[in-house]
Homo-oligomer: 542 residues x 2
């Protein structure tokens, strides 16, 4: 039977070509770390991606399947890297700049990055570990002054790299199932795990976020991309903006509330993303110093942590700006659900509506959710029965990089999220608890297990259990409950902070310590975090 559909692979290059063809006039605006504003068009992005592709292949010898790291804030060159690297068939690997030196070293060696593109302002973080990096052949410096000094051995300036290249490049034909990008989970207990995304998953993830039930992005929008590009391919936004023809505004390290507000105003931003902590800060700053004119901002989409109801309410009541809750994980590209009201909610009270909007929401087309109870049965969609949230779909991984370990997956092919959730009769998923032992503070994961091990290495400490407690600014923060070897000993908080700072970066270190006589244990002798949380909630830990 002759006659069917053209082979048309869904790749990041398909996205780039579309953006250039239909929306070459749309803008990419960058605020550099020093506050300088740069602007160019999607058409310029396209040409520079082709120059970059030439540089990668001709100058740096990058070939299909090679891993290329980025260590950078959100800015136009970082977007060029997203498209340029995967366009030549290599894998774009944004590295989280907020990890410990040990974690960063591990990730770069594990991923086998051959080249790292690094912001000049972030070079000091890599200088510390460069001698330990086994596969990196070269560092490309982004936004570095001409006379930039560094101990990194082989370096080249990004603009010099591009300058000598042609704007003509024939994109190779790629298989849409090949890898286009990689991110590491930073939240799991144990070592970070690599997660590979395919061209197809990247395309489908981005194109589904555009739809009105999800992000609702169009060529009338100007979007502020606050989520750092080193987080889960920054939720697909550097891709989807080209598909939806939305102007992109990239703030690099300008994430202070007052600066963000200024950018929102000056660029007439209509939509934005970010973790709740960012929006709490923006809200507080706007309350203190209300903008003279109503912002063009219609809504902000939040992921990474639960959006507090008070924030949804405050922003909407005080400034007419809508908060939209989304949910996802590194393993799910990340976006899996979004919470928006439907016509069936029209008759609910404001408070009931708020309760729905604060849920994680309904699944996107392309992913499926289910709740598996502890008894191994499917939970009914009643909004009450809790169990582990499991997910499958067109942008969910089926294994981790370089490992055959299938612990995170069910035998019938679903990914086990480790979140305890419910799904209600209308399909709205709500996360109730976490089966994995993690804390998410200001959008970044902290491993309680790693903190516990480190604390127990202190000579005066016998046992330690770290739990997440609520925090107004960071949503969650770690609290360490400690059992001393000698009950009569004392340790100051500052001593412990100093002690932990050898292995942890600042945001990961608990500021809150309580001393207890014994750590509650489960029947099989594991730390009983649920019990500790209960004690804390009842004021019995302090």
């Amino acid at each position: 039977m002759e006659g069917l559909i053209m082979n048309y692979p869904l790749t990041t290059t398909t996205i780039l070509e579309y953006g250039n063809s239909v929306y070459h006039h749309k803008k990419i605006i960058t605020y550099l770390p020093d506050g300088t504003r740069q602007e160019y068009r999607f058409g310029d992005l396209y040409k520079r991606c082709k120059k970059l592709a030439n540089a990668l292949t001709l100058k740096l010898g990058i070939t299909k399947g090679d891993m290329v790291g980025t260590f950078a804030w959100n800015h136009a060159p970082h977007v060029e890297l997203y498209y340029g690297i995967s366009g030549v068939g290599a894998i774009c690997h944004p590295i989280n700049i907020r990890l410990t030196s040990d974690q960063t070293e591990y990730i770069i060696n594990n991923s086998e990055d051959r080249v790292i593109f690094v912001d000049a302002t972030l070079v000091p973080l890599l200088e510390k570990i460069a001698p330990l990096l086994e596969t990196v052949e070269c560092y490309v410096l982004i936004n570095a002054p001409k006379d930039f000094k560094t101990s990194l051995l082989i370096t080249i300036h990004y603009e010099d790299l591009l300058e000598e290249q042609s704007e003509h490049f024939e994109w190779p034909t790629l298989n849409e199932n090949d890898a286009s990008g990689m991110c590491y989970t930073s939240g799991t207990t144990g070592l970070p795990k690599g997660v590979l995304y395919s061209h197809r998953s990247t395309y489908l993830h981005a194109s589904n976020i555009i739809s009105p039930n999800a992000g609702n992005y169009s060529n009338l929008d100007t979007i502020l991309l606050i989520v750092p590009q080193f987080h889960v391919m920054a939720w697909g936004f550097p891709y989807l903006c080209l598909l939806s023809g939305s102007n992109m505004v990239l703030p690099s390290s300008n994430l202070q509330p007052d600066v963000l507000i200024k950018i929102l105003q000056e660029e007439q931003v209509t939509k934005a993303n970010g973790v709740p902590t960012i929006w709490l800060g923006v809200y507080d700053a706007m309350k203190k110093n209300p903008p003279k004119e109503k912002l063009a901002l219609e809504e902000y989409i939040v992921g990474g942590s639960a959006l507090p109801k008070s924030l949804i309410e405050g922003f909407e009541k005080d400034f007419g700006i809508k908060g939209v809750q989304a949910w996802g994980m590194t393993e799910t590209s990340p976006l899996g659900t979004v919470s928006r009201l439907q016509s069936l909610h029209t008759h609910l009270s404001d408070n009931e509506k708020l309760n729905i909007r604060a849920k994680q929401g309904t699944a996107f087309p392309g992913v499926e959710l289910r709740i598996m109870t502890d008894e191994g049965t499917l939970a009914p969609a009643d909004g009450k029965t809790m169990g582990e949230l499991q997910i499958k779909g067109a942008w969910v991984i089926n294994s981790y990089f370089k490992t055959n370990n299938q612990d995170g997956f069910t035998q019938d092919g679903w990914f086990k999220t480790g979140d305890v959730s419910t799904i209600d009769k209308d399909g709205y998923m709500e996360i109730k608890d976490r089966t994995k032992d993690l804390i998410k503070s200001g959008g970044e994961w902290i491993s309680s297990v790693a903190l516990e091990s480190a604390l127990m290495a202190h000579p005066k400490i016998k046992e330690a259990a770290v739990i997440a407690i609520a925090d107004e600014k960071w949503i969650e923060k770690p609290l360490a409950s400690i059992v001393l070897v000698n009950e009569k000993d004392t340790i100051s908080d500052s001593e412990l902070i100093e002690f932990l700072s050898r292995d942890f970066v600042k945001y990961q270190i608990p500021r809150d310590y309580v001393y207890i006589n014994e750590v509650p244990k489960t029947s099989v002798g594991k730390l009983d975090k649920k019990e500790i949380r209960r004690l804390f909630a009842e004021g019995k830990l302090s």
Copy 2:
């Protein structure tokens, strides 16, 4: 390198499962030919599709790759057939009910339909040709009264077929590149050609129409599906409504303006589709008898023919309802472009805006357009240089059913549309003329070549050339220019209409005849339609 994305085929079953899982509470409302209103939910659709799947496989012996025809208006069972047939791995083949008996016979024999699902009201059309159908084993009667009489030999009532089946059915795992549906082009010169759609193309086409730059459909919408389901899988709407969670309203044969207006009012329809002729009728009826309350209808999307500027203007000014122009072909699933204003148009005059909205518009993500001049060079995007519109993409065919003929495709893999077009600097495509010799009247194609052959079979006619001329109601209609064998002869219009009615259905037959001394020819001796059109435009044909 372990670690990548789950295999998650994009199939019509994926769509059905999603619709049931997230939007089981959404409605499908049918107005039957006799005016009866029926309503059920996506959850009911899902169960009935599973019953149908059981019936198809267990009762009718349908297996993977089998062709199953439908001959029906828009209604819930027809939607069930879309999902049920392709869900079991067979191919859903909606047959245009408006063709001649000869064409219908050819199409059914060519496609090798094993079963045809037919509306009771349409049975007479099939009875005429049933003895000539070589592959049809059985007819399933939809909405037929219990005592329905027909000369069709083996028949079963649709509801009886479903009634005895279980609601449990394990969907087979399908390859997304397998065929899910088929439509025939009815507009080409020569025989109708079969066009196969794959599960993947059907999914991607539907999911891209949802986006705000295209159709902009969400779970807040109620959509009236006017485009008949026997036309190009009715533009993807029976699929996309499940992805977007939009209520569906299906009018069957209730397409008279007054009835449509009543349905729009009663169902609080927010969006609708249709050919311009339908909307011209609705507009005229609303002008004559303005609705007391403003309709909930926000916009109607139009394809099949160019949306007249006067209609865009009138509907918007008089009733605040927006007309949106889209473009596509059977070979392109069909939708390829849509025309909406962007922020760059904000400063234009109303008339300039109207000119842009009347263009065919910009390409969807997933398809690419280009204009090839007569000299074989790519036309610049200047809005002026004309050439043949060519298209490629994820839902464009690469060949016709049962033929290796590649005449319609370029060597580098683009489909040649046969339309003469321009593309402007902002990516807006505009169709200027047609290289293929066709007339589109009220949304249906008419082959001028077929009319010419038929006319020339008349003993008194020496030569005939049929062109499209503008018509207020039908957008286009055929005009036949005739050279008589004997100049002194005369033929009445009614004689010719009678003569043609043996081979053509009513809407295909010209009402306008002019007599000329000779038909203009091109240098190679072909009918020079351009010249005939010019003569007509200048009033020299009458």
